[in-house]
């Protein structure tokens, strides 16, 4: 096969920003600080197995909540007039224009003891800690990544021809079975891309858990962040394992998507 000239910039791009960094991570993960081959980084990495599982679990729950919230939002948006659709897309996007850290700080202010939500709950007689637990981490994640679920769902659903919905109603479907038999199967590509766009970054995210979670709630992203400066090799090994896990997840997901789309 002959390489086509226009693909050269792309190959250079891929080499500089994808293949070389991955090669460097691979190299680090299999060497010790002096540069000799060792599997020690991986044995050390397995010390963080519980953090690893927790990260995947939190990412899974966050993705699920995002999906449940985003699905009706996306559907309702897709059935509006074109002008209304544009305004609603805007509204979904606006929070994303603000800095990520700033939004997390906003949640700290809202959730901290003596903060507005806590005060309100106290007045109702509910005394609880809102921050420093897994729930707060999941809340932060859902808030952070919800737009990434809504937008792909909305764009797939907007393409569903209204005539198909009318045809289903015509054939005897009530609203529920229209959703179940027509809208849902046709929206699967949107679900797949939404889940990918939320699960992947939330599994590897950092800072959210550090700020909103307790000491025991740190996630694998935070571990990498902390460990990389002192022990680059172990950091690289963890990153590699995370990459492999995400890759596996994507394969499974795509398999699902294709199967459903054909059936």
């Amino acid at each position: 096969m002959r390489l086509k000239r226009p693909s050269i910039p792309y190959i250079i791009w891929m080499a500089v920003f994808t293949f070389i960094p991955i090669a460097l991570i691979l190299y680090s993960a299999f060497t010790d600080s002096s540069g000799g081959f060792t599997l020690e980084p991986f044995t050390k990495a397995f010390g963080y197995f519980d953090v690893f599982l927790r990260s995947l679990w939190i990412a899974f729950i966050s993705t699920l909540i995002c999906l449940v919230l985003a699905y009706p939002i996306g559907y309702i948006m897709s059935r509006q007039k074109k002008s209304t659709q544009n305004i609603l897309t805007m509204v979904i996007m606006i929070p994303m224009w603000m800095n990520f850290l700033l939004r997390i700080y906003a949640w700290i202010t809202l959730l901290q003891s003596g903060g507005p939500i806590d005060t309100m709950l106290s007045l109702l007689g509910i005394h609880t800690t809102l921050i420093g637990n897994q729930g707060a981490v999941i809340l932060g994640m859902v808030y952070e990544y919800l737009p990434f679920m809504v937008l792909p769902l909305y764009s797939v659903m907007a393409k569903i021809d209204n005539n198909l919905i009318e045809a289903a109603e015509d054939l005897g479907s009530n609203r529920l079975s229209v959703m179940r038999k027509v809208v849902f199967p046709l929206s699967i590509p949107g679900i797949v891309s939404g889940v990918t766009m939320v699960f992947v970054p939330s599994a590897s995210t950092f800072l959210v858990a550090q700020y909103l979670g307790g000491v025991d709630d740190i996630m694998i992203g935070d571990v990498i962040d902390r460990i990389f400066w002192s022990d680059q090799n172990t950091g690289a090994a963890i990153a590699l394992i995370l990459m492999a896990a995400i890759f596996l997840f994507l394969i499974i997901l795509n398999f699902f998507g294709d199967e459903e789309a054909i059936a």
């Binding site: 005539n163 198909l164 045809a167 109603e169 054939l171 005897g172 009530n174 038999k181 046709l186 789309a261």
Partner: protein
């Protein structure tokens, strides 16, 4: 047992408007059991809206919809025993042929064996045996169309609604499908309500044709009726070729066209009434000039396969004749029409001139101009002087009206309701906010569009309205 004459769906006084624009203007329509009824009309006449009301996708603002004697206003589509074949088929892309057809039965929880049997039967009816497992996206337009029909018919509806189902097919396929649809309708004994703008489709397939224009039903009848006895010039012009001529009904059975008195068979139009006359091209016999009252000169002859289309000029008026025998350009011929074939129709627009009322807003004596207010517009008229605040009645002949080619007219957004060629000119009926207008034009304008209307005030008559001020 229901017989062929039982009314199954009945629309009474249906009124629909969108954004102030009237789509259906108080229509009444009865659909009988087991009949093939076609709603025929130009685009924008309200035919699809009528279908959506029967299907339950649209609620009329006024009026009642009854199904087998029960009022079904407000009943959602899934509770109506009516199925629709949509214009763009609307097959479910994620399901194969079998699942598309079985969709309705699965919802009604029909046992699996029965679903299988009925889908198979239906596929045989629509001539798609063995297509169960095919993906619908891999079917041709005609096949998709037939799946859509099968999907709707398998639910065993009392009425099948079809919204221009053949519009996207090519001519040959369309002809085949016309025949097949009629076969399917007879095999399944279901009432079909078929919407189309193609008059040929309507005539070939239907038991009943409903001709619509501008939100009203112009005529309901058998194909033979609407073709042979159109109620007005619009119907005559829309269905088939026709010579439509202005005439005067002198008395019962006596009509005058182009200055000649002819015998006809229609009665009851009164005396000296302006009427429209329609004569079908195949009803004119070419004879020697001395054998007929109407004489003319052949200007064009076109061979059309089955017949020749002969164009004849007769007293400044263009006639079309279909004849199996040709003629030569320049021949002087006579046009013989037997009284039975002269069809008399009431005029759609009774007045011969347009009269409208205008308020003088300001006037300039030196320049001899006035500015008047008409409907929602204000414009200047040159060569006239009236005191401000005078109320004027202005009368314009049809030839003083024109459509502003540059887009700047005296009245904007005037709706073209019909365009009918009357031998010499096109007679165009327009509708503005407050009234209808009759215009004469040599240009073929597009029906159902909005245009700017322009007046030629040099042909106008002005009359001051005294003591008739609006209060």
């Amino acid at each position: 047992m229901t017989t062929k004459n039982d009314v199954i769906v009945s629309l009474k006084d249906i009124f629909v408007q969108f954004d102030g624009e009237v789509i259906l203007n108080h229509i009444d329509l009865d659909i009988k059991d087991k009949e093939f009824l076609t709603i025929l009309g130009p685009s924008g006449c309200g035919k699809t809206t009528t279908l959506r009301i029967i299907g339950g996708f649209l609620e009329p603002e006024q009026g009642t919809v009854t199904f087998e004697g029960k009022k079904i206003n407000g009943l959602p589509p899934y509770k109506r025993n009516v199925n629709t074949v949509f214009q763009k088929y609307s097959l479910f892309p994620h399901l194969n042929v079998f699942d598309n057809i079985a969709f309705g039965m699965k919802i009604k929880k029909v046992p699996k064996d029965e679903i299988k049997r009925r889908v198979k039967e239906m596929l045989a009816i629509v001539d798609l045996k063995g297509y169960e497992k095919r993906s619908v996206s891999k079917l041709s337009g005609g096949q998709q169309q037939r799946v859509a029909i099968a999907r709707a018919l398998v639910c065993d509806p009392k009425v099948l609604l079809l919204d221009e189902p053949l519009g996207a097919l090519d001519l040959k396929l369309r002809k085949n499908m016309q025949w097949e649809l009629k076969q399917i309708q007879q095999k399944t004994n279901t009432a079909f309500v078929y919407v189309t703008h193609d008059q040929e489709e309507a005539l070939t397939m239907s038991d009943t044709v409903v001709v619509m224009n501008n939100g009203v039903i112009e005529q309901i009848g058998t194909p033979t009726d609407v073709y042979n006895e159109p109620v007005n010039a619009f119907v005559a012009d829309f269905i088939g070729d026709a010579n439509i001529i202005n005439g005067t009904m002198l008395d019962d059975c006596r009509v005058r066209i182009l200055g000649e008195e002819l015998e006809c068979v229609d009665k009851g139009f009164g005396q000296n009434m302006p009427i429209d006359v329609v004569i079908r091209p195949e009803d004119i016999e070419v004879v020697k000039p001395e054998e007929a009252v109407l004489k003319g000169e052949v200007t064009e002859v076109v061979f059309k396969g089955v017949h020749y289309e002969i164009t004849v000029m007769c007293k400044g008026c263009e006639w079309i004749i279909h004849s199996t025998e040709g003629a030569k350009v320049g021949d002087k011929i006579g046009m013989k029409i037997i009284p039975f074939n002269i069809q008399i129709m009431n005029k759609m627009f009774l007045a011969e001139k347009n009269t409208f009322y205008a308020d003088v807003v300001s006037a300039d004596k030196e320049a001899n101009t006035i500015t008047v207010h008409v409907e929602d517009s204000e414009f200047e008229i040159e060569g006239q002087y009236f005191e401000p605040e005078t109320k004027l009645a202005i009368t314009l002949p049809p030839s003083a009206l024109s459509i502003a080619g540059d887009g700047v007219g005296h009245l904007d957004d005037v709706y073209i309701e019909s365009v009918i060629f009357k031998g010499e000119h096109n007679e165009i009926i327009l509708e503005s906010d407050k009234q209808k207008w009759l215009m004469q034009s040599d240009v073929d304008e597009q029906v159902a569009t909005y245009v700017p209307l322009k007046f030629d005030f040099t042909k106008a008559e002005f009359r001051v309205m005294e003591g008739e001020n609006e209060t």
